[in-house]
Every structure is written in structure tokens, then in C-alpha cells.
């Protein structure tokens, strides 16, 4: 090994510890007897007394199922809304001339940067009047603000990759823009649509700011976990967190290809 390789591996070890340590602690606290974790002055770094009782107590004695189902419903609705709005918008952006596409892109980028908390407060007032406050559809409508720009940029990229000739051919055969979209472009863009749906689903699953302001009474999982922490039910919070994280890990692995800087950064390439 030369100096360069040695330096690389020293770096790999240090950074790996940094990124793995918090996850390790979370798992350790979940599966170790609390005597050795949260009730200890200097908690051990090793698994002293393996137990499943933390998880069992957390998931059975605390309100887990309902927040879980609410999160599931909200995230799915956000995924549907995001692709329902994002497919036409993505196609439109990929085909419009730059002069018209640029302001629309800008509008979505600004939406992406808008501070959630600043707009959540007035939306709450509006939702109370519209009977959408503390409802899943209401929360989903607000969270889609976070996911729509991303979904649109992903779909714009997908549609840009489909040759215009295919669309022209369909148009020559007498299909309207909308028919061409429905019958030809959507099936061809299926992988991008799935990715946009899953990423939107995942962002909603994790979302906290809109959730705590717009659905505080019967909350989604992230907010329920926050309530657990503020009540001091740390072990329940840890148990919830582990279950909560599993879908995200699965989706992240499925989406490796799409989790690239330029998408997450909201169209950095443009």
C-alpha cells in the first residue's frame, strides 16, 4: 500500500464511524435493556442485555397503529397528487420553448425554497374555515408543495428523454396532445413516474413542519414521535423510529439511481 491508499482508508474509517455511530446508537438503545442505556450515567457502547421488550412495549402500550396508518394515507395521497399534477407539468415543461418554460421553472424553484412554517400558519387559518384542518386530505394538499417541484423536474427529465418523433407520429395519426400523453407517453415514462411517486411518498412520510401545524390533534408518525419525546417516552420514540425508518430504507435502496444531487437540489442542472 502506498501513502495515498493509506490516507484513503484512514479517511474511510473516520467518516464511516461518523455516519454509522448515530444509527448504531439508535439500534443499541432499541435492543438493549434500558438499565444499560437511558438509565445509565455512562451508557455502554456494547449490547449488554439483548431484549425485545422495548420494541414490544413501545408498539403495544403506546398509540402506534393509528399514526402509522395516517402517515401511510397522507404519504400515498401526496404521491398521487404529485404525479397527477407533475406528469402534465413535466411534459409541458419538457416541450415548451425556453421563454415560457423558464418562468414556470422559476415558480417551482421558488416554491421549493419557500419556508414551510411561514406559509403553514396562514394555511392553518384557511383550513379551519374550509374544514380541512387536522384532516389527511388537507395535510396532503400542503405537503405536495414540497414534493411537486421535485416530481415535476424528475418527470420533465423523463419526458425530455422520449424522442419528439414518437409524439409527432401519434399526432399525425390524429391523436390530440392529451391522447398522445395518455396512450403513448405515460407508458413510456413509467420508470420516471414510479420514481417521482416514491420520492414524493418518502418526503411526505418524513415531513414534520406542515404536519405539526396542520394536523396536531390526530398526528402523523413524525409528530407522534415528537410528542413521545416531549412526554419523556424515549423508548417508545426509539421503537417507533425504527419501524418508521424501514420503508424509507427500502425506498432509498430502490431509488439509488434517482437520488442524485441534481434532482434533490431541485433542478440544479438548469
Amino acid at each position: 500500500m502506498n501513502t495515498r491508499q493509506i490516507l484513503i482508508y484512514i479517511g474511510v474509517i473516520i467518516f464511516s464511524i461518523y455516519f454509522l455511530f448515530p444509527l448504531y446508537i439508535l439500534i443499541l438503545v432499541a435492543f438493549n435493556s434500558p438499565k444499560y442505556t437511558i438509565f445509565s450515567l455512562y451508557p455502554s457502547l456494547l449490547l449488554q442485555a439483548p431484549t425485545l421488550s422495548n420494541l414490544i412495549i413501545g408498539l403495544t402500550q403506546y398509540n402506534f397503529v393509528e399514526p402509522f396508518l395516517r402517515s401511510l394515507g397522507t404519504a400515498t395521497l401526496v404521491g398521487v397528487l404529485s404525479i397527477a399534477l407533475g406528469i402534465p407539468a413535466g411534459l409541458g415543461l419538457s416541450r415548451l420553448s425556453y421563454k415560457i418554460a423558464y418562468p414556470i421553472t422559476l415558480l417551482l424553484l421558488i416554491t421549493n425554497m419557500m419556508p414551510s412554517i411561514s406559509i403553514a400558519v396562514p394555511i392553518a387559518a384557511e383550513f379551519i374555515r374550509a374544514h380541512l384542518f387536522n384532516t389527511i386530505p388537507g395535510l396532503a394538499l400542503a405537503q405536495t408543495l414540497i414534493t411537486l417541484p421535485l416530481a415535476t423536474f424528475i418527470l420533465e427529465g423523463t419526458f425530455s428523454a422520449i424522442p419528439l418523433e414518437i409524439e409527432y407520429q401519434a399526432r399525425l395519426d390524429g391523436a390530440s396532445v392529451f391522447q398522445a400523453l395518455w396512450r403513448i407517453l405515460i407508458p413510456m415514462a413509467a420508470p420516471g413516474i414510479v420514481a417521482a411517486f416514491l420520492i414524493s411518498w418518502m418526503f411526505s412520510w418524513d415531513e414534520f413542519t406542515f404536519a405539526v401545524i396542520l394536523m396536531p390533534i390526530t398526528p402523523t408518525l413524525p409528530v407522534e414521535i415528537y410528542y413521545n419525546i416531549t412526554r419523556g417516552d424515549m423508548l417508545a420514540a426509539v421503537a417507533f423510529s425504527l419501524i418508521f425508518t424501514i420503508p424509507v430504507v427500502v425506498i432509498t435502496l430502490l431509488l439509488q439511481k434517482y437520488l442524485r444531487g441534481e434532482y434533490l437540489a431541485g433542478g440544479i442542472k438548469r
Binding site: 490516507l7 484513503i8 479517511g11 474511510v12 467518516f15 464511516s16 455516519f19 448515530p22 446508537i25 439508535l26 437511558i38 438509565f39 450515567l41 455512562y42 451508557p43 457502547l45 402534465p88 407539468a89 409541458g92 415548451l96 415560457i100 415558480l107 417551482l108 424553484l109 416554491t111 425554497m113 419557500m114 419556508p115 412554517i117 406559509i119 400558519v121 394555511i123 384557511e126 400542503a142 405536495t144 415535476t152 396532445v177 400523453l181 418518502m202 418524513d206 414534520f208 413542519t209 405539526v212 401545524i213 413524525p222 414521535i225 415528537y226 419525546i229 420514540a237 426509539v238 423510529s241 418508521f244 425508518t245 424509507v248 437520488l259 442524485r260 444531487g261 441534481e262 440544479i268 438548469r270
Partner: protein
């Protein structure tokens, strides 16, 4: 002239435009207008901002800036390190790239829990590490700087991966030939990093800092869980004013200040986007 073709594609984008207009721009506009509205006299005035001054919004703004700059600094440092490693070929590279990016997908609340387990006022795993090194445990929330440190470290854990991805795509865009030429001229690794990598990476660093900077300014769940309302940030101040029901108009005023700061980032982003 707008032709028929453009019009039908514009119609496709219209639902999304109407949606963000109604759910993002209209509320933002409403917050700004109402923050200047005095409900007692039914007229426009600065009364909400005057009342807000008792809650030290300037301090909250400064805290937000300090936390953001600290987090950006930590993230940039780690991301530069990790990306320079990932730009090389070595055994175990795939595993290392998963290890350094997976935290991106971990929910903010979950990362907040992990770090509150690490940084407990009494006990906690950070104190275990200090103990192993022969030192006494410390209360990680005993002063302002330690609180900032805890939030910045926790935030960096979750958010550095995004910066790694952006910087790595920047490093991959630097032609290898330049490095070969420099190596032939006898430049060592550090010299190559300072004279080739950094200057070529600057535009990517700028983009990464702006994109991350916007998110840092909006940081909310993490400080709320780790340090609560003290020291206040702009976001936690808005939430505190809103949830304690002091006056919704005060939270509008604080929310407007936050929008003002974010507008600076939005302008920067547009200007840089134009140049590219």
C-alpha cells in the same frame, strides 16, 4: 406570439401553476400583508413588529445565521473529505458511498432522537466517549455554544450527503488530464487539491452552499426537539408565537422576517442560475 402548440403544453402545466399559486404564493402574500395589519384599529401599521420586538426577533435572526453558518461549515468540511475519497477508485468504494449517503433518507425526527440519545445533559453516549478518554461528562445544553454545536452536528449528519453528492458530481467533471500533468510536474496530493480541485470545484461549492443555506434557514424539527425554544431561531419563534396563541399576528410578523431572509437566497439562486 404564442402558437397553438405552446398553448396546449402550457395548459398541461397550468394545474401545477394554479396549485402552487394558491397554496404557496397566496399564503406567503397573505402573511406579509397581515403582518402589517393592526386588528385593534383595523388599519395598516407597524404595531405587530413593535410587539414582536419584545420577543427579540433580531436575536432569533442572529441565532439562525450562526446555526446555519456553523452547519454549512461542518457539512462543507466533511463533504470535501468524503467526496475527495469517493473521487478515487479503491476496494469497498460502493459500501463507503452507501454509508456516507444513507442518512439522507433518515427522517429529521429520527435523527433528532439519535442525537438526543448521544447528547444527553446527564448520561448519553457522547459522555461515555468522554469518560473512556478519561474526562468527566458534561451537560451539552449548559451554554449557548454547546447547544449550537449539538444542533449543527446533528444537522450535518442528515444533510451532509446532499452536499457530498453535489461536490462529487463537480469533482467528476474535472478532466483527469490536469491531474496527470500536475503529477508529472511533481505536485503532491495537497498541492493538487489546493491548486486544481478547489478552484474547479468553486461553482459547485457555491451552488451547494446556497441550496443548503436555504434549508438551514428553515431548520425547524431538529432544534425544536434538541434545544426547544431557547435559544430561539426564526422558525421556532414563529411556532412558539403560533402555538402558544400569544397573537397570530405576531407569528405573521416573525414569519414575514423569515420570508425576507429566504428571499435573499431565492434572488441569489436566480442570479447564479442565469449565469449558468
Amino acid at each position: 406570439m404564442v402558437n397553438k402548440r405552446d398553448l396546449s403544453y402550457f395548459l398541461l402545466a397550468l394545474p401545477a401553476i394554479v396549485y402552487v399559486g394558491y397554496f404557496a404564493f397566496y399564503p406567503a402574500f397573505k402573511v406579509i400583508i397581515l403582518s402589517f395589519w393592526d386588528p385593534a384599529t383595523s388599519s395598516f401599521s407597524l404595531v405587530n413588529y413593535k410587539s414582536l420586538s419584545y420577543f427579540n426577533p433580531g436575536g432569533a435572526a442572529i441565532n439562525t445565521i450562526i446555526i446555519s453558518l456553523g452547519a454549512l461549515f461542518v457539512q462543507l468540511l466533511i463533504a470535501l473529505g468524503v467526496a475527495s475519497i469517493l473521487a478515487n477508485e479503491f476496494r469497498g468504494k460502493r459500501a463507503f458511498s452507501v454509508i456516507t449517503t444513507y442518512s439522507l433518507g433518515i427522517a429529521t425526527v429520527v435523527s433528532a432522537i439519535a442525537f438526543s440519545l448521544i447528547f444527553q445533559p446527564v448520561g448519553g453516549y457522547a459522555n461515555t466517549l468522554l469518560h473512556l478518554l478519561g474526562s468527566k461528562g458534561i451537560d451539552w445544553y449548559s451554554n449557548y455554544y454547546l447547544k449550537v454545536f449539538v444542533v449543527d452536528i446533528a444537522d450535518s449528519w442528515k444533510n451532509t450527503p446532499m452536499m457530498i453528492l453535489i461536490l462529487l458530481s463537480g469533482m467528476m467533471s474535472i478532466p483527469q488530464e490536469i491531474y496527470y500533468a500536475a503529477a508529472i510536474d511533481g505536485a503532491n496530493m495537497l498541492n493538487r487539491f489546493i491548486h486544481i480541485t478547489l478552484p474547479n470545484l468553486l461553482p459547485f461549492i457555491a451552488i451547494a452552499l446556497i441550496i443548503r443555506g436555504v434549508s438551514e434557514f428553515n431548520i425547524f424539527a431538529l432544534p425544536l426537539i434538541l434545544i426547544g425554544f431557547h435559544p430561539p431561531l426564526l422558525t421556532t419563534l414563529v411556532y412558539e408565537l403560533y402555538s402558544t396563541g400569544a397573537s397570530v399576528y405576531l407569528s405573521y410578523a416573525a414569519a414575514t422576517i423569515l420570508i425576507g431572509f429566504i428571499s435573499i437566497f431565492i434572488l441569489l439562486n436566480i442570479l447564479i442560475g442565469r449565469r449558468r
